[in-house]
Symmetry: D2
Subunit: 430 residues, 4 copies
Amino acid sequence: MAGQGHEHGPTSPAIAAPAARQAADEVEVRGHIVDSLLLPKILDRILQMGGSFEIRDCKIGMRRTDPSYARIGIRAESPEAIDAILADLVEHGASPVHPEDAKVVPADIAGAFPEGFYSTTNQQTQVRFKGRWIDVQDQEMDCGIVLDPAAGVARCVPMVRVVVGMPIVVGHAGVRVIPMERPRESTLFGFMSSNVSSEKPKSVSLRSVAEAVRSTRAAGKKVLLVGGPAIVHTGSAPHVAAMIREGWIQALFAGNALATHDIEQSLYGTSLGVSIERGEPIEHGHEHHLRAINAIRRAGGIRRAVESGLLTSGIMYECVRHDVDLVLAGSIRDDGPLPEVITDTLAAQDRMREAIRDVGFALLIATALHSIATGNLLPAWVKVVCVDINPATVTKLSDRGTFQTIGLVTDVEPFVRALAAELATAPAAG
Amino acid sequence: MAGQGHEHGPTSPAIAAPAARQAADEVEVRGHIVDSLLLPKILDRILQMGGSFEIRDCKIGMRRTDPSYARIGIRAESPEAIDAILADLVEHGASPVHPEDAKVVPADIAGAFPEGFYSTTNQQTQVRFKGRWIDVQDQEMDCGIVLDPAAGVARCVPMVRVVVGMPIVVGHAGVRVIPMERPRESTLFGFMSSNVSSEKPKSVSLRSVAEAVRSTRAAGKKVLLVGGPAIVHTGSAPHVAAMIREGWIQALFAGNALATHDIEQSLYGTSLGVSIERGEPIEHGHEHHLRAINAIRRAGGIRRAVESGLLTSGIMYECVRHDVDLVLAGSIRDDGPLPEVITDTLAAQDRMREAIRDVGFALLIATALHSIATGNLLPAWVKVVCVDINPATVTKLSDRGTFQTIGLVTDVEPFVRALAAELATAPAAG
Amino acid sequence: MAGQGHEHGPTSPAIAAPAARQAADEVEVRGHIVDSLLLPKILDRILQMGGSFEIRDCKIGMRRTDPSYARIGIRAESPEAIDAILADLVEHGASPVHPEDAKVVPADIAGAFPEGFYSTTNQQTQVRFKGRWIDVQDQEMDCGIVLDPAAGVARCVPMVRVVVGMPIVVGHAGVRVIPMERPRESTLFGFMSSNVSSEKPKSVSLRSVAEAVRSTRAAGKKVLLVGGPAIVHTGSAPHVAAMIREGWIQALFAGNALATHDIEQSLYGTSLGVSIERGEPIEHGHEHHLRAINAIRRAGGIRRAVESGLLTSGIMYECVRHDVDLVLAGSIRDDGPLPEVITDTLAAQDRMREAIRDVGFALLIATALHSIATGNLLPAWVKVVCVDINPATVTKLSDRGTFQTIGLVTDVEPFVRALAAELATAPAAG
Amino acid sequence: MAGQGHEHGPTSPAIAAPAARQAADEVEVRGHIVDSLLLPKILDRILQMGGSFEIRDCKIGMRRTDPSYARIGIRAESPEAIDAILADLVEHGASPVHPEDAKVVPADIAGAFPEGFYSTTNQQTQVRFKGRWIDVQDQEMDCGIVLDPAAGVARCVPMVRVVVGMPIVVGHAGVRVIPMERPRESTLFGFMSSNVSSEKPKSVSLRSVAEAVRSTRAAGKKVLLVGGPAIVHTGSAPHVAAMIREGWIQALFAGNALATHDIEQSLYGTSLGVSIERGEPIEHGHEHHLRAINAIRRAGGIRRAVESGLLTSGIMYECVRHDVDLVLAGSIRDDGPLPEVITDTLAAQDRMREAIRDVGFALLIATALHSIATGNLLPAWVKVVCVDINPATVTKLSDRGTFQTIGLVTDVEPFVRALAAELATAPAAG
């Protein structure tokens, strides 16, 4: 692909446009250029945005996984066009050869970013500060970056948490993204990422998820479970409870419904009034979930209900007993709710942010709302598996930007039962 | 079906059990017994719950829609068994022949009902107070009933709003339910209720919904639209905006996402970064929704953005201009959110309760969360049509108890476009 | 419900219409009137069709499952109206009190019924011949009835098999239907029939299906499996093979695809080119299915491939080894096809008709085409369970008239794996 | 990407393995290397299959759409490994620099290919014969290639049509594939290809399909409609009939069901017994489809029924009147069937092969069976749009290899109605 000095561009603008209005710059790309299709993507973007390019240096690693390097000259019709192209390429993983420091302006309005703020992705990001590239902390998509010049520390900040005077990064200069590479360490994991279909060998998927849970624990990271009430309706609660008891799950994000039906099952043996044992609706069973909530509210909450001996089994019980970091986030469809439910959604998001700090693997089961909410908060390098019988839930999660998500279109109960059984063959370290 | 004095029961318990432990009572059923299948259902319940019955009086109306009447003697093995049967039959529309007044006990704990509280349905309910049946107001499922003895007024109260000392109805005595009849005035409406399938004549459904909107407005009731962001993604926002402008919609329940993408489209021409006009992703378009929220937060909210001329088109714009009762309820997946979004879910529910007071027809489009939340609040006599391309959303709504819901499995944009066109043929009264 | 001599009708036609044009008749209903909602349905139909009724006799059984009896007088404005009502009521299980013999006319055209032919349902049907009610044999929906006066035998005949001169029943006179009752022997089975949702306790469903398989075998009836290729794609083939080997399945209906991918897995370890073991696409694996077909065609068919030692495992192998009645029906999407595939669809239907003769339970897994085809052939009293991850397949089957179908919305592999394991706990009698 | 003489390989085998066992070869790639990601894909494949590469020549076109060229040296551990790599690269569009002629062997068994046959894709393919590359005719996936040495003509042949002695191409030598490029002429078309989701701007999709129909007709090619019975059930038949009448459709593939319900609607106003006008089930309407089939069989077929004046409207009527190439293919779920239905599936496939010869655009609506069958026959350069409310149908079509398919997840009736209206704005040329 050695450009022999001539330029590649859409309309040979070099002749048509006066040189004075032209502008040029240079970017570098590093990484698995062949493998990750980075280089063609970047060249393609330059051309699409009306620029032209010249490959000035290109080294390809000896092996597929060796890093490669390319330096690319870019030309466009105006400095504005060059800026737009550079801003775009930065998101695709290129970085300017002669970078500037990131620019910050103080926030002028509380709870809003200044004009022109840099809007984050969930990819690993760095900002240039006093000539050095520093990592942005608390990486999260759809935030701004606050850069503390005194401490030399940059981190993501949600819009609603902006206070007047906060130094917020604006523009794309001095910001670079280190894009994720395609997963290669585990081919099992790789196979699942291809597309969303229920017609795939299922036991392979299962082993892959079990392996991800094990290796996450072995690496000292937390496993996060995000679950919807279908876990209880389908009779999967005992299997989840077992996984908690055996140390496989360190954090649980759910809503009032999962917690309520889990407690309903523990107190009455039903879920939404349907007997889990016999599969039939029970007389007045549809009231059970409300009576369960009422009982827990009367007891002063889930933790107290466990301590007082009212609640003696189930997912909530095991969470209390094994100090799982439990975040129950409220929604407008909640009955009650249970006392532990955080009814303010911004407060709930903040608790979720706290809880994901050391999460290495997230398993999202049968909930679109909590899965998307969690996906919004997770950095791109946390592995995510989303299990749902409805392919639309998985598709929606990817559409919203959580690209690292691997979707398993399968039925919840058999999956959770088999996963618990698979994990039980070798206990968690602790 | 004249029982000739002998009893019908599962095991002829009259012989096996000593008479002393037996118990008996009598219930009445009124209404469209033939048409609504009430009588067989009630007889079936008695037998299923271990009782036996004797039909003591039975008058069938001359026409299908004339009210009928039946008086049924019930026997069971114990007073407790009779109580259980009576409690069950009350929910199916039977009422004791010799009723007592409803019993109340004062709430002993704030935010929780007393033990044994009567748990409401969304059907029209009456309580007996000083020998008279009075209507329960603010009918809503999964609430308790507070009965003010001074005012002689009963109304539904959500658990979380209970204050210590509130007189709450307990048990089933003195409570009766007047079950909804099957819809008959409109056969078009009737046809749609059969089951959830996409393979039905579609133009009939459309005319039925248009007719329901018109007749609701003609009756001086409000039309409520509950919508998800797919309305904007699919390019349906202009059609919804037109319906608002023309006076067909009086209340709108939605979340941050619908409002954000509507504003994104108005400001940038995109929805989730995809051009509505050309259907293609725009450069950096994925940031547009965040920039739209930021712009509105900087402006001080949607209403101010309309007043200042920043926001000049779209659903939100029309809501502000035409005084639509707009409730934007927060959720944990929200970015921002927009200033008008109510982030506390209990506060949002209360605003929704207020707004549904005069609603005669609710149209739920492409949102599971807001649809289920709304379904939880609506009494059974408000007609509900749920439009979604995913049959699971419709099924879920019915499973959660909103039985009056008619599901239309269809694509949002063509449906909304055609509905707006159909309604435009004859303008709303006001 | 004793009508006291007065009539119930929509518009009191007795006054409006001259008596001379009126007509009347009488029908009987027997069976579980209370339980099956038969009586209200019939009264409702009479009124809907413009008639009026009078209940002349009504006896209700002592227990829920005891048979009841009602005799109902019907009036309408004309003999034609009475005929239409009677024809309708017959399908709902009523029968005329003063019946005539069934009328037959000889078929005038080969492969078509005479005008006015009686069109069958899949319910148990009888025709009146020389004053006696005789059972119609080979009950199948959407057929005609051929009544052999010499042998006094009636049976269903498909349109395409009509030969000139065949005596075909016309009109509704002398035909009666004995409607199925709701299943009650097994409450587990009952629970599943409520509606199509994936949110149900799954292990209950599984035990119910296993129990149905066992009781069918214990009763000396055949179990029929109807399966699609997703059985192989999802890695379920070994479990199905095990069930065949252990004597649980006597007949298998499938298409070229299931057989091909099963053989592909046996020969190459892949299904549609994806390794079942590792879950990854294999180099050139997409060609494997074609090479598998080619190999079997070269060998002279599946049976010969087993005999020659080419094919040594899998579903097809076990079918050959255990004399399962295998019907591979062709479709236009077939590659090859395999030599055993019956490419003429009418011939395939005839083979399926033969094979279902002694089937007591049909398990339909992951195939819409073969499931609907089988559903068309099965009488209403054969229990059918349809397993598919897509709720639309189940809905479609019911919409097409196979009302006895119980739908399980679940994932194929875990279901089949667990079913095989459950059945393996106690072996089949033989 | 100029390889500076050193090799890139997974494990530096040059040292470990004795040179004598090594093998090498050279391939060329031409086309839009940057744009189509061809080059990285090919390099990736070489490494994955255990080979190493050296880029020996590389010219990149000036513009994105200009052709580029690369010559790549390949090394592997054995001649067999080189062969496997070459075979694989051929499918990805590379071709050997020093090619041989294609090898043929005569078929030894009727209806089966010889061992080692070349299995075709649906991409444009050429075979080398006497030193020249000749186009393979009747391109179709999952066939073999018969090469007539006398005529110098190569064409695809389905397995079942092989006769003893036919010269069949074996191995990959002398075969090359010219891969399709990504569509670029129409960005509208491009946008739709991204993924399968119902949440996209719908009117853009509609205009794209209308434009494809128009441009196909303008180019003198045929438009093929492949449709399922939901077209009739949803009330879309009149719109399809209009499109046929106005000259937009030249070929129609369907089954007995679409034809039957279309005729049922014409004769009785119902589809599956449901009134299209009023949306309600009609008395005895479920028999209508059988009576419709019977009437057509009595008339001697669809064409005769049109000629005799029995059938006067609908899709079938318009097909007869406007000489649409109608292929009704049988399936095992058919009632009747209608006389024009081809009940032998191999005969039906052959008729479909004939009919697609000049098809330039295929619109597949609401049928999985006929869509997959058609997809199997179409070469990759025929544009395909698949419209279904169920995303699984679209996914399945792509999984089966018809990669050029663009899926529209939308409701049939509004789509077809709007398409007919859009096309009616400017009439077809002929």
